[in-house]
């Protein structure tokens, strides 16, 4: 479904600080997979997501999605079929707008944003239903400004919004990293539920090795722009957090941190 084909990415090109991150990087995801990516800082996890979402354009190579070359497609056009939840809960919602206004905007995704009234009273029950599914006591807070909500609540809403319209792929960029352990657990369960219910293909970058092992159907570890571990199916099911931690420590020691 998704294919990164011979990708080359370097930063500060043409200067003394030039750093090559990806050198002929290849990565493939099939439909229905839930891929967890782990790896140390600077290993290329987030850049991989940025390549998929269009925030970073490769120096050479192609991004193929559903058989189509989307390498040159702009970020907002890709957003029509790729949903994304960020680490920062502030990025996935609009703080100055109310919960209701945020939902109304997301509800209209992939339709023209014209001169008709944005908020439809008919959809209120649907929005309340979405909120009560989060189990965060949000159902009566439709008219509250998002900025007044907690990080966990915002992230839950961001997740709901990212999955509200039919997307083909969900990108989760360390989306539990900024939350306290309990909220983070809740969000992770919500994520899993959403992916299963909507039969989504998902890629999740995480620093929580336990999540990477517990959730998802495939586990990938990256280091210095290369995939050093790729487990799926039965092999993934039999993987324990300890095993991953062991390998993780090894690469971290090599890096000196």
């Amino acid at each position: 479904m998704l294919k990164l084909d011979n990708i080359n990415v370097s930063f500060n090109k043409g200067t003394v600080d030039e750093a090559i991150l990806f050198d002929n990087f290849n990565f493939e995801v099939s439909k229905g997979e839930f891929v967890s990516i782990v790896g140390s800082n600077g290993s290329g996890k987030t850049t991989t997501l940025n390549l998929i979402c269009g925030t970073v354009t490769p120096d050479s190579g192609a991004v193929i999605f559903g058989g189509k070359d989307i390498t040159k497609l702009s970020e907002h056009k890709r957003a029509r079929f790729i949903g994304r939840v960020f680490q920062d809960p502030k990025l996935g919602t609009c703080s100055n707008l109310t919960v209701l206004e945020n939902f109304a905007l997301a509800d209209n995704k992939n339709k023209p944003y014209g001169l008709t009234v944005a908020i439809s009273k008919k959809r209120l029950d649907y929005y309340r239903q979405l909120l009560s599914d989060c189990n965060m006591g949000l159902e009566d807070r439709l008219n509250v400004q998002i900025g007044a909500l907690s990080g966990g609540q915002r992230q839950a809403i961001a997740l709901v919004i990212a999955g509200m319209t039919k997307v083909d792929m969900l990108i989760l960029d360390e989306h539990t990293a900024a939350l306290d352990p309990k909220s983070s657990e809740t969000i992770m369960q919500l994520t899993d539920k959403q992916i299963k219910e909507n039969d989504l293909t998902a890629i999740m970058v995480t620093h929580n090795l336990r999540y990477a092992v517990e959730y998802g159907s495939r586990l990938i570890m990256m280091d210095k722009g290369k995939i050093i571990l790729d487990k799926s199916g039965e092999e993934k099911k039999n993987t324990k957090t300890q095993d991953i931690l062991h390998i993780f420590n090894e690469i971290s020691i090599e890096c000196g941190n």
């Binding site: 702009s74 957003a79 707008l97 209209n108």
Partner: protein, 312 residues
């Protein structure tokens, strides 16, 4: 005190005129966080368009609408410079307002007979029919004077300002308007919805400059002439009105921001009038403007505008 009362009509008039610039800034600066310098140019453009059309005998209300559209076009240019060419916001405004100086001069000399040598001080006076806007629409409904205070211009300007306010409020409730508000707040979110936030920037600047052009048209309706330097200071007036309005009435929940902005503009002009009545020579006008603006910034408690509720 009495002399102040007799000038109520003056600051009401100018306050309502400048409230339009402030409303424009509400969209471009407050919502989109775009410090738009184009307004000084579009203010004059609006005046030029209005002046020429009225002096050619065209219905002044139609002239007002055409002024608005002209402002929209120039605002769009600024927006496109920003969005397509990725030029810095401040520079986009400087570029377009500089270019507009020539455009305004050429249009003035092309539209009017007479000597226009292209000097920056060349101005036009059109055969001023007092109450042009009033006569074209209301017949004789509004009495020209009550207690020796002329009412027509303030009332008509009030109608225009309120109409513009209502239209803006309505727009901000539409899907396009909501996307505009979201773009100023979180461009990434708008991208995630599959929309280019740059589109909102262009629309917002078109509205902001359209309103500025209408303000210019109304201003020239008071004075009956167009002066190439009449746009100077409009940025400060617009921003000061916006900030005075939104910070003075910050706690007043039931007022919409657009209403607060109109109050802010009138209050600002009232302050200036008071200063003049106290005997400050008119040469000090602009420095007083800047001073009042600074005071407004200090008393608003925060110079930073972002983060204040933009709930409509």
């Amino acid at each position: 005190m009495f002399s102040l009362f007799s000038s109520v009509e003056v600051f009401l008039e100018t306050g309502l005129v400048f409230s339009l610039i402030a409303m424009g800034y509400y969209v471009s600066y407050y919502i989109l966080d775009f410090p738009d310098l184009t307004v000084e140019g579009t203010f004059v453009s609006g005046a030029v368009v209005f002046g020429i059309m009225v002096s050619k005998g065209i219905n002044p209300w139609l002239a007002l609408i055409v002024s608005f559209l002209a402002g929209c076009v120039f605002g769009t240019v600024t927006g496109l410079l920003k969005v397509k060419l990725k030029i810095r916001s401040l520079l986009c405004g400087i570029l377009v307002s500089t270019a507009l100086i020539s455009v305004n001069l050429v249009v003035v000399s092309g539209g009017m007979s007479g000597d226009f040598s292209g000097q920056s001080n060349s101005s036009i006076s059109y055969g001023r029919v007092v109450n042009t806007l009033h006569d074209a629409f209301f017949g004789d409904i509004i009495p020209s004077r009550v207690n020796n205070i002329p009412l027509r211009n303030p009332l008509i300007f009030l109608i225009v300002a309120v109409a513009c306010k209502i239209l803006l409020d309505m727009y901000l409730k539409t899907k396009s308007g909501l996307i505009l508000r979201a773009s100023g707040d979180n461009g990434q979110y708008v991208k995630m919805l599959g929309v280019d936030p740059g589109k909102s920037t262009v629309i917002g600047l078109a509205i902001g400059n359209g309103y500025s052009a209408v303000a210019g048209a109304l201003y020239t309706h008071i004075s009956g002439n167009v002066n190439q330097s009449m746009g100077i200071g409009m940025i400060v007036i617009g921003l000061a009105s916006l900030i005075i309005g939104t910070s003075l009435f910050k706690r007043v929940r039931f007022l919409k921001p657009t209403t607060k902005v109109i109050f802010g503009a009138v209050i600002y002009q009232a302050c200036l009038t008071v200063a003049q009545k106290l005997g400050v020579p008119s040469a000090y006008n602009k420095i007083i403007m800047a001073l009042i603006f600074t005071l407004a910034l200090i008393f608003s408690g925060k110079v930073k505008l972002k983060g204040v509720s933009t709930k409509c």
